[in-house]
């Protein structure tokens, strides 16, 4: 059995290599249809997703964990795939209206969070 070319040979993440190369999961796509979502973008499952049937395992896992908001990095970790692959799978589900994507939109022009959001973050951290 030859080595899976999609994994680093040193097994950097300490997990046994998957049998299917990661990009086979996405049909060879490494780019999602939509814009490139930031890796901290959150996804939540929609009402419509309850009607989803016969989904392949990866999609099902994503819909299960997205019962509460989860980021692309968490989706990637749950599936043991790079964030780029998670991004493609999430885009598929969003296109099917099974997921809502929440991008970090509330910024003040230079891409940073707005003062209003920072103030709420500060209050949240101080309350812990």
């Amino acid at each position: 059995m030859s080595e899976d070319p999609s994994r680093s040979p040193d097994g950097a993440n300490g997990v046994a290599g998957r049998v299917v190369p990661v990009f086979a999961v996405t049909g060879g796509r490494t780019r999602s249809a939509g814009t490139d979502l930031p890796m901290e973008s959150l996804v939540t499952v929609t009402e419509h997703a309850k009607q989803a049937e016969n989904l392949r395992k990866e999609y099902r896992v994503i819909l299960d964990i997205a019962e509460r908001p989860v980021s692309l990095v968490e989706v990637g970790a749950a599936l043991d795939v790079p964030v780029g692959v998670a991004r493609v799978l999430v885009s598929d589900l969003a296109e099917a209206n099974y997921l809502t994507v929440h991008e970090p939109l509330d910024t003040d022009g230079d891409g940073r969070p707005s003062p209003a959001v920072l103030t709420r973050l500060l209050d949240g951290l101080r309350a812990r």
Partner: protein, 187 residues
């Protein structure tokens, strides 16, 4: 999580040299078991075609750990960022839209922190320098530390015990206060 409000993702970077305590800090703060994830070149802001130019594709993955703190509709992610120069392509994606960064410093090896400090200064990303409490790190006063790191007076300098949640939380608060002050200056 209230269902009527849209969740807002936020992120803070935890940077610094190898073994300075980045993973420890993420661990101390995170509500989920911190995850060591594998990031690949294709997920960074690098065109797919560029990958063809990389002769050994197996070297283009990098480990990165992250944690999470939820506060109502705000979800804050902490990213422990790989410190080596060759991973700067990843820093660009991580830094985009970030609240700011914590640069962890071990005073026994301050050279390890210059790359991170230079990077955040050049990107104008708000950051604080947090001196981790390794043995002997308390011997130097703030003035000496600022001097050694050539820190701008506007950059907050704090002491942290990366093993303790309260101490790490105080560091994040110092960073968000600083980031907020910066937005007020800009306005």
């Amino acid at each position: 999580m209230p269902g009527d409000r849209r969740p807002i993702p936020l992120k803070i970077l935890v940077a610094g040299g190898f073994g300075v305590g980045k993973t420890t800090m993420v661990q101390a703060l995170s509500e989920i078991p911190p995850v060591l994830t594998e990031e690949s070149l294709t997920t960074a802001s690098v065109g797919v075609d560029d990958i063809a130019a990389v002769p050994d594709k197996s070297t283009t993955t990098v480990a990165m750990d992250f944690g999470r703190i939820s506060m109502d509709d705000l979800v804050l992610y902490l990213f422990g960022t790989p410190g080596q120069h060759r991973f700067w392509f990843m820093w660009d994606e991580l830094a985009r839209g970030a609240v700011g960064a914590v640069v962890l410093v071990d005073l026994r090896r301050i050279d390890d922190s210059f790359a991170a400090i230079d990077y955040f200064e050049s990107r104008r990303l708000p950051f604080v320098v947090a001196v981790n409490s390794f043995p002997g790190n308390g011997r130097f006063d703030d003035h000496a530390v600022r001097d050694a790191l050539a820190l701008a007076p506007s950059v907050p300098l704090v002491r942290v015990d990366a093993r303790t949640a309260d101490s790490c939380l105080a560091t994040l608060i110092a960073l968000v206060e600083h980031a907020l002050a910066r937005t007020e200056v800009r306005a």
